[in-house]
């Protein structure tokens, strides 16, 4: 991108469309059971039981281990041929009893279906009734919550699987009782670093929250006593109390919003569905809404934090970021949020690949409407996308100055020599990203500085005006 390109009066073209091919070359999203499992491990004293072939849980456990560099306990019903013929419900019953007996502290078993067991048509709800009977007979007095989660792999993606699972968990567990005065916060699919950032805002605002799910310990320590503390922190009681909250805040439109809407419908908990808080404007909106809901003032400390972020971004935007074309891919809430963030720092989002499959639903997303208002260059938004959409454009000569996305697309950047900042899920080829925030003001700083340092390293490696940084 030339720094002295002359602006023309051409009307920008903004295209929103699904990818044209039917098949996928290099998927940017996994299937629904993965989302179900991610929701399930966020619960304390929970081991999800995946009802399907063994690969459906084994590889997902590996995926989580790659991203978080931690182990998570997930069980399988180990479906085999006989179940495909005669039904697999007995495998669920056996799996539940084996887990109940061998893990005495276990309180929750989310039971997650897959494509095979949905095609076979196993009656999960009916089987759960039988399981409760068996538990009462064999382990009287044992409290165990079994949550049916339907996650056929031939629908949606791991993003919809997460959304469906959050809804199913809340539907099964929410129980009307005394008002807690707390806010339900559906965080969306975020990292431990993001959750810490959210907790910080709520503490600064003096607002009590029930974080769904509390995944802070997905970054867990090596301790002298060798204790293993890698697990969700959201308890059975937290889940039950979602019905008794003052309101629900869904930070994202596709990752937990359905659960907030369900609580509104079934338990009259007011629901606030917002943009995921990527970038300054979205974070501002979140804090303002928080203030409106609770009547609490936004404290001076957050005004200062916001100012520090702006101070950092201002050093980078018009000098280093302006006129740079960006390709972004990943979860829809993340991609649209990052595009908004790009607009704030003069980066120019040119290609957005939404990793999910919701057909035309994205066309109604207010973030896309907003982008359309402000973008003055050509922009493509492809939904139901795969990573070949990006690779193909790069191979055909479309120039991008920066790629923002998860590790599965790493070779596009490596082979084409395009600077790339890892963001989203999974980011296994960079160290420790799960520990850092991407949301909020601090997330904006992390992102911008990571982008800047990546661009700087690229300038040095390619001897491209690296001398600019000789003095900065």
């Amino acid at each position: 991108m030339s720094m002295c390109e002359i602006a023309t009066a051409k009307v920008p073209e903004i295209k929103v469309a699904p990818k044209e091919r039917g098949g996928i070359i290099n998927p940017m999203y996994d299937c629904q059971p993965t989302g179900g499992q991610y929701a399930g491990i966020g619960i304390k004293d929970s081991i999800p039981l995946v009802h399907g072939g063994q690969g459906c849980s084994m590889f997902v456990r590996l995926l989580f281990a790659q991203h978080f560099k931690e182990n998570f306990d997930i069980a399988s019903t180990s479906l085999h041929e006989d179940s495909a013929v005669f039904g697999g419900h007995k495998r669920i019953e056996e799996g539940v009893m084996v887990l109940a007996k061998r893990y005495p502290d276990l309180r929750v078993i989310p039971i997650i279906t897959t494509c095979s067991t949905e095609v076979i048509g196993d009656d999960v709800e009916g089987t759960i009734k039988k399981c409760y009977q068996a538990l009462a007979d064999e382990l009287p007095g044992r409290e165990l919550h079994l949550i049916p989660i339907h996650a056929p792999s031939f629908k949606g993606s791991h993003v919809t699987g997460y959304d469906e699972a959050m809804k199913a968990i809340v539907k099964t567990m929410a129980k009307k009782g005394e008002p807690t005065g707390k806010l339900n916060v559906f965080t969306g699919w975020i990292n431990p670093g993001d959750l810490k950032e959210l907790k910080h805002y709520f503490a600064e605002m003096g607002v009590a929250a029930n974080f769904l799910m509390d995944i802070e310990d997905f970054d867990s320590p090596m301790l002298p006593n060798k204790a293993i503390e890698t697990h969700g922190r959201t308890t059975v009681e937290d889940l039950q109390n979602t019905a008794n909250a003052a309101a629900s805040l869904a930070l994202g439109r596709y990752e937990g919003a359905s659960a907030a809407e369900l609580l509104k419908k079934e338990h009259e908990v007011p629901s606030h569905v917002m943009n995921a808080p990527y970038g300054i404007g979205n974070t501002d909106a979140m804090l303002r809404r928080l203030s409106e809901i609770t009547g609490k003032e936004i404290p001076e400390s957050l005004v200062r934090e916001r100012g520090i972020a702006l101070d950092a971004l201002a050093d980078l935007a018009h000098m280093f970021f302006a006129n740079k074309k960006v390709a972004i891919y990943g979860h829809p809430d993340l991609v649209l949020g990052l595009a908004q963030f790009c607009m704030e720092v003069e980066l120019e989002p040119a290609l957005l690949l939404l990793g999910d499959d919701k057909g035309g639903r994205y066309k109604k997303d207010p973030r896309i409407a907003e982008l359309k208002k402000h973008v003055h260059w050509d922009m493509e938004i492809i939904h139901n996308a795969d990573l070949w959409e990006l690779e193909k454009r790069v191979k055909e000569g479309v120039e991008y100055d920066l790629i923002l996305g998860h590790s599965k697309g790493r070779y596009i950047a490596i082979d084409a020599g395009i600077p790339m900042v890892r963001v989203g899920f999974p980011t296994f080829d960079r160290a420790g990203l799960y520990r850092k925030p991407t949301i909020g003001y601090r997330g904006a700083i992390e992102l911008a500085e990571n982008i800047a340092n990546t661009l700087f390293a690229h300038m040095e490696y390619t001897h491209d005006r690296e001398w600019i940084l000789n003095t900065w």
């Binding site: 039917g22 098949g23 996928i24 070359i25 290099n26 998927p27 999203y29 996994d30 299937c31 629904q32 059971p33 081991i47 039981l49 399907g52 072939g53 063994q54 690969g55 459906c56 084994m58 590889f59 590996l62 995926l63 281990a65 560099k69 182990n71 306990d73 997930i74 069980a75 399988s76 019903t77 180990s78 479906l79 085999h80 041929e81 179940s83 495909a84 084996v98 007996k101 061998r102 897959t114 494509c115 095979s116 095609v119 076979i120 056929p152 792999s153 031939f154 629908k155 993606s157 867990s220 002298p224 006593n225 060798k226 204790a227 293993i228 590790s407 599965k408 070779y411 082979d415 296994f428």
Partner: protein
Amino acid sequence: MPMVLLECDKDIPERQRHIFLKTPEDDVRECLPIANVPTIPGSLSERGCAFCGAKLVIGGVLKDTIQMIHGPVGCAYDTWHTKRYPSDNGHFPLKYVWSTDMKEQHIVFGGEKRLEQSIHEAFDEMPDVKRMIVYTTCPTALIGDDVKAVVKKVMKERPDVDIFTVECPGFSGVSQSKGHHVLNIGWINEKVGTAEKEITSEYTINFIGDYNIQGDTFLLQKYWDRLGIQVISHFTGNGTYDDLRCMHQAKLNVVNCARSAGYIANELKKRHGIPRLDIDTWGFNYMAEGIRKVCAFFGIEERGEELIADEYAKWKPQLDWYKERLLGKKMAIWTGGPRLWHWTKSVEDDMGIEVVAMSSKFGHEEDFEKVVARGREGTYYIDDANELEFFEIIDLVKPDVIFTGPRVGELVKKLHIPYINGHAYHNGPYMGFEGFVNMARDIYNATHNPLAYLAGQDIRDPTPLVMPERLREVA
């Protein structure tokens, strides 16, 4: 009793038949662990599925072949970015995976049209690639798509392409092992003998059951080149589709991984009269023995001895440096199956390491026969171990290092035990003479890590733990 019922298994006592403690009194043949049987639901086993045994382990390694997975997107996503098999053409197998992305309407109305469309798209998008393997998955098998008919139609329309079909849904068999078998037998039935390649040496082999993990194949290829042996096909490390069609042209099948690829070697013997020679490629003694056997077959013993002597001169002093420092270290191996018997004696002989516990995900009884024969007394031999068993076994044997996958590696890290990637290696290759020095170096670095001492320290303890002097030395 040599078969052990662990405390954590008291509610699933059938697990006793899967866990064997070798003692001097017992007749090994009487009491091998039961293997290759269904897993107990909810036991937190380590097993994968048959589909991954075919795609991820064998077919997906090929460097010139589109891997078309007919099913929902997850089966493709999950068997991508989980292996370390580079190739000499820019790592094609690591970079790409293909899915027909089955949706609900395809489940209801059938997925054949979607498959046909996806195959054409794949060839259109990558016009230089002319070979493909199509895999079925759980749902496409359940709805009964006629994949072979679709493939036949496409091959008729595109005479320059060749496509192989693997019908091996995830629920078939009890583990990955079923997928190995289906791919092996399918390939010999349909593809071996359908192409011929130029023969450049009177000594020709197929090298079977090596998947070029971190360049194993590249390293061994140097030996074959030096010996003047032409490798007709690599099954499948850095291999090509068409080379595998020429397997019938070799004079000898040299087999490393007998579990994943012994089937095709047996069939090549039966149908084409090509002898099967099993060798071990990990370890100095084993590698030397393997080279000697191959050379003896061709009557080129002298070349073999020269190679071995040169390699020993170059690498043995380095190995011995590590051996001196690894003597008596205790190791556990929790991998797929064959590496148990490939490694237990080689690390003992070459590095002085004691293997104290071994678990196999998908090994069969013949794997246990081998490993129990080669392994030590006082060692646990486990089939399809689960997580609680791992914890209990660790308490019993207290290993200094564990060879296993990255997820279990993260788990044992919390117990202050270092792990080394037993599937994909830490910094390999590990095969051959040079490779085994790499493996020794990785074990040394893992077991001489200052962090293990720091992790054991509670900062509230008034008496700080003293780190050993010169914990690490320079090799």
